[in-house]
Amino acid sequence: MSFEIPDVMPALPEIFILSMACIILVVDLFLSKTSRGASYMLSQATLIIAVLITVATFSEASVLSFSDTFVRDGIADVLKIAVYIATFMVFLYAKDYLKDRGLFKGEFYTLGLFAVLGMMILISAHNFLTIYLGLELLSLSLYAMVALHRDSIQASEAAMKYFVLGAIASGMLLYGMSMIYGITGSLDLAVISANAANVSDNIVLIFGIVFLLIGVAFKLGAVPFHMWVPDVYQGAPTAVTIFIGSAPKLAAFAMLMRLLMDGLGSVSAQWQDILILLVLLSLAVGNIVAIAQVNIKRMLAYSTISHIGFLMLGVVAGTEEGVSASMFYAITYTLMSLGGFAMIILLSRKGFEAEKLADFKGLNQRSPWYAFLMLILMFSMAGVPPFLGFWAKLSVLSAVISVDLVWLAVASVIFSIIGAFYYLRVIKIMYFDKAESSEPIHCSKDMSLLISVNAFAVLLIGLFPGGLLSLCLNVVSAS
């Protein structure tokens, strides 16, 4: 048996992130409390260089490596770049929050970078084992991050719940993988796809798909495997919530796409109905329960659940158009959710968490500019044209309509109309209610700048959506 040295070039960004995470881990040991900023700067530099590496090596062609367990294609590159940028924004948004609460530690950054590595592996997975590897690396980092605030009972409780439920979901995912391995005889996604079409025993196949989908649905937070989402979003420090709520969604989308399109694309009829059910449940529960929330972090958690419903809608279509629409949705949603949570961080300060909806009352009187930014974000999440969220919804809906599932599109629109209520309520509270506190809002220059850029990106990409839309379509159809 000969051992071939794999081509490591496709995995250059992964190797870079891994090395840097280790270096930061070591460097951080020698830093005094006052010079902790160095870890932060190093992490940010790592992400920026990672963007440069990926952009420099970008190509739409797909390359397999590491005995076909790893794939680097256009989709992977675009999603990875989105992950780096999202994480960069998270680190920046989180900085002051962490400092104020004595959480400004190297662990946040090393765990964050390991999570990024997990996401990258997940995005580039071409084998059940790589998928599982990436998923676990990501999840374990996130569990630890949720518990970062050790003294907080809430955070520890949330981390415990997340960990136990995550373990159950991982178990189910593994079980589903073993079923499918059993009937297709391979762990390689391409081989599975080829063999699955000729499987005689549909029962085992669907049995496996159900378990597999539960694993993905848990990671995405789709109903009825969503229970952890609100508790973790609320319990975790906001700086961690903003991380969980943004970049990992891109990885979860990649996981869904790799498993269902790359791995089980040939038997899409078998999983389409299951996915439709999950979509409908997520849209219904997410939108309706969000209305009853008074805690804005919980509200955004349920809003995430409903957005996940929309995100899966494109994959339901099973076409190139649908997958690219979902990808667009994932990127869009990440951008909006970063802005939304950043606003919460912005309004919080030492000893005070702006978690209640009521904390947004009369924001317009306290700071018209931030109120305006939040207005852009909320309109966009509700899907009001011309903001970015409108295009995301429009593209998944048109993908669904083009495969003749008009009823599903109509149902989705109805739920999103119900959902518009709680976004608009935030706007109403900001503009029409009287402010309860007249304290001016303090925040550092860099955060203020980034949050403005973030909200305006939502507006500007909404006005000129063509570039991002066609980028998504190009990379999806090229792979």
Partner: protein
């Protein structure tokens, strides 16, 4: 000079927009001076670039530009985009709009100097300039509609600029509601265009008129209507709202509640002419429907005559000019109906200059009189305000059509053209426009004599403070007076009778009334001179002269007579002072009627059916469901794990079990 004309076009619209944003959003930061510098700079850039475009298109004869600069979305083959159509028609409109706007901007520095809303005002008028430019430069119906609504919005905001004044709020609400009626027709018209042509692009629509020309639609069963006629009339209803034609004219006189600079800019020179511009732009459609043209002509003629008559009994200086504007818009509309599009747009241009001049002159008088607008308290202002007096005289002479002045050429072209028209309603229209000449001269010089000549009727305090306003006010008056004199002479040959507009305007050979008129002057080297020489032998000249003479007799020679006339003909006077009862009628029938219907709907449908059943019912259901689901979120780990297991079993039950 510029490599790419497209960049020039984009900057023409962007410059005022940037000015508006700076003055509006950063008004506090940049201060009063900063705000007016930003707004004026924006409009000045637009004006200079418009002149350059005018030179390029009209003087150098460059190819017309038609193209999209930004596509927002393509839905089902229909493109929603921002695009420009720059030909001689839009180039001329751009110059007129930006020039008058620039004058008004400068004037505003003086007029609004003590107002708290100084920056807000500059922001609005710069925004108006942007919207109006979007409207005239558009190459598609959607952008036209955007500009149409945007100018309407700014007009609404400016009429109610002094938002603490109840009459201003009433007036802007009225303008808003009446324009809604017109815009509804306009929108239906655009929808009909989209439905039958499948495109909103001007060029595509005009190139396909032949395919739609013979189609009919039946809205009422067994009644076949020509599609083109329906489209044209619907579009024209939009124009009736914006250009204040009977019966949708009621908002314009009330709009005088706004500050005078905007009366000049929006409610006289530019926005209200948008309807005229739109119909001229749509000439390839309107030409195909004689019915629509007749409709246009009759409406215009009625407005021209009857609205002018109302100017005779008004005592508020701005309202007299407002009714004059209505009447002149009527003239333009008549010209459109007669297919004399060139003359209509020509009159639009000359009118923009002299009417803006008259309004700004009235504004100067109002400042000098400390915001007194009643002409009965003025008189003899000539010696106190010499520049205002002289420029207002030029404006009035241009308005009544004194040979040689701008209004003469455009108005006489219209009258002659209507005289040659043969479509139904033309003879009525001819009578109306002729009679209108006398009326115009009478009310114009009534105003002129009452304000600038005769006895000084103001109180002593006001008199002692009378003086000419500062140069920022008088300079625009002088700059507007120049085109009010010469522009007609310069452009009558090419615009009214020549080939100025080229392909921008389309006239069927059998409708070419201006061509017929031009034949009268065949052989003359300059139609302008021929018209002036000829005018002494025509009715309009003598009608105008007798109008002036009557005004002089009634208000200078025997100022006691008007009161006697008023008593003798009290019935007519009552009708006129009540503006033919349009306001009362609207108040009772439309406002009252819709309030009554609203009340019924509210009481029976809204409260009983919708509120209790649909709204509260569904809200309660949603609230109830969400409460239950929230209860399920217990916070206990085992509940969550259990939910996952239930989910798993459910999925297996639904998807795997049936395969057994």
């Amino acid at each position: 000079m510029f490599e790419d004309m497209q960049t020039v076009y984009i900057w023409i619209v962007l410059a005022p927009l940037i000015g508006a944003i700076i003055a509006g959003l950063f008004g506090k930061v940049v201060g009063r001076t900063g705000a007016h510098i930003a707004a004026i700079a924006g409009v000045a850039i637009a004006f200079i670039l418009s002149l350059y475009v005018f030179k390029d298109i009209v003087i150098d004869g460059a190819q017309a530009f038609n193209g999209a600069v930004y596509t927002w979305l393509v839905s089902d083959g229909v493109r929603f985009e921002v695009g420009f159509l720059i030909d001689s028609l839009s180039a001329m409109m751009m110059v007129v709009v930006t020039f008058v706007s620039l004058m008004v901007h400068i004037y505003t520095i003086g007029y609004m100097k003590d107002d708290d809303g100084y920056q807000r005002f500059f922001s609005y008028i710069a925004l108006f300039t942007f919207s109006m430019l979007m409207l005239v430069m558009s190459n598609n119906f959607l952008q036209l509609f955007f500009g149409w609504e945007a100018v309407g919005l700014v007009s609404y905001l400016l009429i109610g600029f002094w938002y603490k004044k109840p009459t201003a709020i009433y007036a802007n609400l009225k303008a808003f509601l009446v324009n809604r009626v017109g815009d509804f027709g306009f929108l239906l018209g655009i929808a009909a265009v989209l439905m039958y042509f499948g495109s909103l692009d001007y060029a595509t629509v005009f190139n396909n008129v032949d395919k739609v020309n013979n189609l009919t639609m039946s809205i009422i069963p067994n009644q076949d209507w020509s599609v083109i006629t329906v489209i044209c009339i619907l579009l024209f209803i939009g124009a009736m709202g914006k250009s204040a034609q009977i019966p949708l004219h009621v908002w314009l006189p009330d709009s005088m509640e706004g500050p005078t600079p905007i009366s000049a800019l929006i409610h006289a020179a530019t926005m209200v002419t948008a309807g005229i511009y739109m119909v001229a732009r749509m000439s390839p459609l309107f030409e195909l429907s004689t019915t629509a043209l007749s409709f246009v002509m009759v409406i215009g003629a009625t407005t021209a005559l009857f609205m002018g008559m109302l100017g005779l009994v008004q005592n508020d200086i701005k309202r007299v000019i407002a009714y004059s504007t209505l009447s002149q818009l009527g003239y333009m509309t008549v010209a459109l109906g007669a297919s004399a599009y060139g003359a209509a747009v020509f009159h639009l241009m000359t009118h923009a200059f002299f009417k803006a001049l008259l309004f700004l002159g009235a504004g100067a008088v109002i400042i000098a009189m400390h915001h007194e607008q009643d002409m009965r308290k003025m008189g003899g202002l000539r010696k106190y305000l010499p520049i205002t007096w002289f420029t207002s005289m030029i404006g009035s002479l241009a308005l009544i059509g004194t040979p040689g002045f701008a209004g003469f050429f455009s108005k006489d072209s219209i009258i002659e053209a209507v005289g040659h028209s043969t479509i139904p309603g033309a003879s009525y229209a001819y009578f109306a426009v002729l009679a209108g000449v006398f009326i115009t001269a009478l009310y114009s010089f009534r105003l002129y004599f009452m304000v600038f000549h005769g006895k000084e009727r103001m109180d002593e305090h006001t008199r002692s403070h009378l003086h000419e306003p500062s140069w920022v006010v008088t300079l625009p008056l002088i700059l507007l007076a120049i085109p009010s004199v010469v522009i007609g002479y310069l452009y009558v040959d090419s615009m009214a009778f020549g080939n100025f507009f080229g392909d921008a305007i389309f006239v069927l050979p059998q409708h070419d009334v201006l061509g017929e008129v031009a034949k009268m002057f065949a052989g003359a080297s300059s139609i302008a001179w021929a018209m002036m020489l000829h005018s002494v032998f025509t009715l309009p000249f003598w009608l105008a002269a007798s109008g002036v003479a009557t005004a002089w007799f009634l208000y200078m020679k025997r100022p006691d007579i008007p009161a006697v006339i008023q008593q003798r003909f009290s019935l007519i006077y009552t009708i006129l002072i009540n503006k033919y009862g349009f306001d009362r009628f609207n108040e009772i029938v439309f406002a009252g009627g819709s309030r009554a219907i609203g009340k019924i709907c509210w009481r029976y449908f809204d409260v009983k059916l919708i509120d209790t059943f649909v709204i509260n019912g569904s809200a309660k259901t949603v609230g109830w469901v969400s409460l239950i689901l929230r209860r399920m979120q217990t916070g206990y780990l085992y509940t969550y794990a259990f939910a996952m297991i239930v989910g798993l079993c459910g999925l297996l039950l639904i998807f795997v079990y049936p395969l057994k």
